[in-house]
Subunit: 319 residues, 4 copies
């Protein structure tokens, strides 16, 4: 194999927001080339110079790595077909995130397993931010399991996909803000809790409430953590800096909290902390921000692909 020849990759489901973002990022990737992209109702249209084919017509065999950005429930079948053809696969749907068949691809945490994986389950957007914020505290035994972790998360509309729903019309979303799936009903919760237990040893109560923001991109999570012992701001920052010292896609802010502006169009999570004043028991508030389409989806999928192929981890990715 010519080590400098670009790696051919395929994208199943290339007409939704995540699939389009995959094609956009892959177009600038120095070591990958798009072998095909699929769409159903948008078949025949072009995205980033790639003509979209119906999935039935896609030359799966021509790709070395296959990404699936198909809808939840639909993706699993096509992922299995690609694997049957011997393809290494990154699934961006929720279909394998709780399955032992796949490696959970939170790159900074599971990098070594991703490197050898045949099937990577790319994490959900909300869990990506929450886990990168909580795991360093969990691993250090700093989260008090007798009190609740409370996460309020807000996402831009591309997180809800490109489907035609009245509640996603501009006339409904603009100048509005609302919570949804209140009361721990969001489908990302089991993924978040299972990973927090497995990778961070935390099994206490957790309350997760998502909100819809009138912006196109970006997730901000405000994460309230009960601590087993008091930490001032500098000490908390030091824990994160130590945990992520060599990570190119994690930005730990000193004396500041991230906003969406710090992360959109980038494959990074930005983290900032504050010790909570005027309370009797020690608490930390952590603010985490990502671009839901990049580090929360397409970017992290490419980061995982880079690891799988032994490429530079940030190839093609603005971090």
């Amino acid at each position: 194999m010519n080590i400098n020849a670009p790696v051919p990759v395929g994208v199943l489901g290339a007409s939704g927001y995540v699939g389009k973002e995959l094609l956009r990022l892959l177009a600038g990737h120095p070591r990958a080339s798009v072998a095909f992209g699929t769409a159903e109702t948008a078949a025949g249209e072009r995205e980033q110079g790639v003509e979209l084919l119906r999935i039935a017509d896609a030359p799966i065999a021509s790709a070395e790595v296959v990404f699936s950005a198909l809808p939840h429930g639909v993706s699993a079948q096509y992922v299995q077909e690609a694997r049957a053809l011997g393809k290494r696969t990154v699934d961006l749907s929720a279909d394998f995130r709780l399955s032992p068949e796949a490696v959970y691809g939170l790159t900074e945490v599971t990098r070594s397993r991703v490197a050898t994986a045949e099937l990577v389950a790319n994490p959900g957007c909300y869990p990506t931010a929450a886990l990168l914020a909580l795991l360093p505290l969990g691993r250090a035994g700093l989260i008090d399991p007798s009190r609740e972790v409370v996460i309020d998360a807000a996402s831009g509309v591309t997180g809800a996909g490109r489907s035609l729903k009245r509640e996603l019309l501009f006339g409904e979303v603009a100048e509005d803000f609302r919570a949804y799936s209140v009361g721990n009903e969001h489908r990302h919760l089991p993924e978040l809790k299972a990973t927090l237990a497995r990778e961070g040893g935390f099994t206490g109560d957790l309350v997760f409430t998502p909100h819809l923001l009138p912006v196109r991109r970006g997730i901000l999570e405000t994460i309230h953590v009960p601590l087993t012992r008091g930490l001032d701001r500098a000490a908390a920052e030091a824990i994160y800096e130590s945990a992520y010292a060599d990570e190119p896609c994690v930005a730990v802010l000193r004396g500041a909290w991230p906003s969406l502006k710090d992360v959109v169009y980038r494959n990074r999570v930005a983290l900032g902390v504050a010790a909570v004043a005027n309370v009797q028991r020690p608490r930390l508030t952590v603010i985490a921000a990502i671009d839901n389409l990049v580090k929360g989806a397409a970017g992290q999928a490419i980061q995982n692909m880079n690891v799988m192929l032994g490429l530079e981890e940030t190839a093609g990715l603005p971090c």
Copy 2:
């Protein structure tokens, strides 16, 4: 006195967002007329047909009720001058909110004291929503004081006033979202805690984190409450419906959560609840929404004035 003659009222500080909103609402009030409005750099300009005068030139004596929408720290002096002239006064700044000299004007809660008050301290926008959400639970002894109440609040930019700050430029706020005063540093916290203790008997820990939304108007608060006993959704809704059965400016939603769209340009708080699933100890999440300029400021000030004057409480107010 001719009982049908409009009541002359004055507005100190009529060129900021709150002052302009006062003039806008008063212009449609069936029983009040604007005797004067003041501004300093904008003196000479017209708002709602009223020519703005320098405060030094304002005919304070011509008004029966004086509203002050002057900045914090500046307001107190002018409020005292109006009182020295015998005027009943509603102060929309923070200057008297913790003072025993004033009646705290959370109308639904302190109505009878407002009716006879000479000086009303109009509540802050964030506390208004939080208190109307928490007091019914606190008064029923339902909030577990051994665990924290967590409030994540998001406000439109008019809540930050009309001052010239780089962080309030369109190019900075649009497509962005961020937390500020993280770690219980917001200046509304003492007001919130003091009132929650005095009116609701709750003295436990509380974490309050405000956020800046890319919208013009509206506040949404997601309020996480640890309960002393389990409540399902219907039972929680029943508590609010009972507490606010006769209140024209409180909307308790059944089986739904409010969004900004439900409240902007209205003098109302909208409330919705969810029992939290998948946790070991009972918890309730309450969503509260208000228009920061109306129920959170100018509208509630007029509601208080209506009570003070014995007028219909919602006169001039879309609830």
Copy 3:
């Protein structure tokens, strides 16, 4: 008839943006009450306290005036049915705007005919602003017919209705701006040209290009007029002030140009002018702004109803 009893009115098509705005404005009307509102897929829902009925179940006979905000092509049939029951009718669709059967209800221009009309065709939103800007110049013989009038108009998304189209999703509209129906293809053009000829005597070339703005409400039109003789700014302003001297719903700005902020939620057109410098032949640019849902639709319909019933013309309307 009790002259103080409210006039019962009905609204056909009350679940779209225009129909909802009609109900919102009628809820605050001092002399009208809503007898019924209709919707099909949204039947059973409540808007402004009114339970929406299927049109087949609506008690048409109970209303004195019937508004139709039904879609173009659908409206005509139901308007005729209401007329067959003897109801005075205001049609907000395009179905009768070119029909001799109806009076064209541009209130400021056709007021006397509206007063006695049985059927009023409410003008389109784009023509309302353009006509109020152009007619004073046309009637004064000031528009040079040998050169083109060029109109670039931009509208908020509620002008496109509440239908489910991908191009109206928040993720598509936010941060975007685009022209549509370029090349004189917009369906409002015949209405605009016919009225400009009939009421203003202008029959020259006209180029009309609409654009979609990332805002909820409002239309701004930039109207380029070739003049038969030179006019400086003050002279042009004087022409408009004279034409609209007694009009409560027209604001002629002096030395300023209107923006959407001047007109949203109001039943007014705001006009501002500039003489064009550095050109060889005399030209005027006129900027006109309206709220597409108010003066461009529901508000003007109520203004017309007020005229038809002999009520104060601005009753229930913030001008």
Copy 4:
């Protein structure tokens, strides 16, 4: 000289929107490295990993090419100082756009002169879009000089710079839209007219009206052109395709009109046309879109630098 060593470049005025965009794009440039960036009030802050220095402290001599994104009126002096040190310079201010001392850097039109220039005056954002739309028609003698060219242009707020003005606050711009400098008063007009005459032979009347859009980035211009002879859409498209056949940064759309979404974050102009129906004399409407910060400023400056240095013209630029 090592032909593969990156070229050191300096950025004067790196804290405004244009300067920041230069640093952002240069950070991804494969053949350039940032030797320094300057700022005054923001000196000491970091942008894209570059610590900003006061201009007095900047090591001008260390750069091979100097970009100036300093304000108009301030830039000229520092550009001359850099030239005195023998530096090739690209000035993004307006200071040299009408000066014979500089080459006007509209790359697609003046490429050969840019290649050898010592000083390039980077075009204004509005003229860039207008000129690329009009010059092919002008050079073909298709613009009728006896009738006016009318340009209505709309820009995102970053076009107005990052200065602190009340009219640029989010609370003022959001949900608003307005015209400014109406009547041919915009300072870009002389640049536009002079270049249109020099490069396109058009000296007729022109009306240019800019508008402020509630978006962060992007310019859309709707350009109305009187033609000397009739052109249908396909013929007009063919003229543009022929003129820009080998241009990587110009996209001529077939049967469609561009929107901001087609160009933001890209160094391209997108063009679409429509023949105007229902008029007596032939007319064409051209829609042109660019990102004001990229093709309208920083991107085109880098495109010019690439040409000056003999690099691939699109190096570091997403077109």
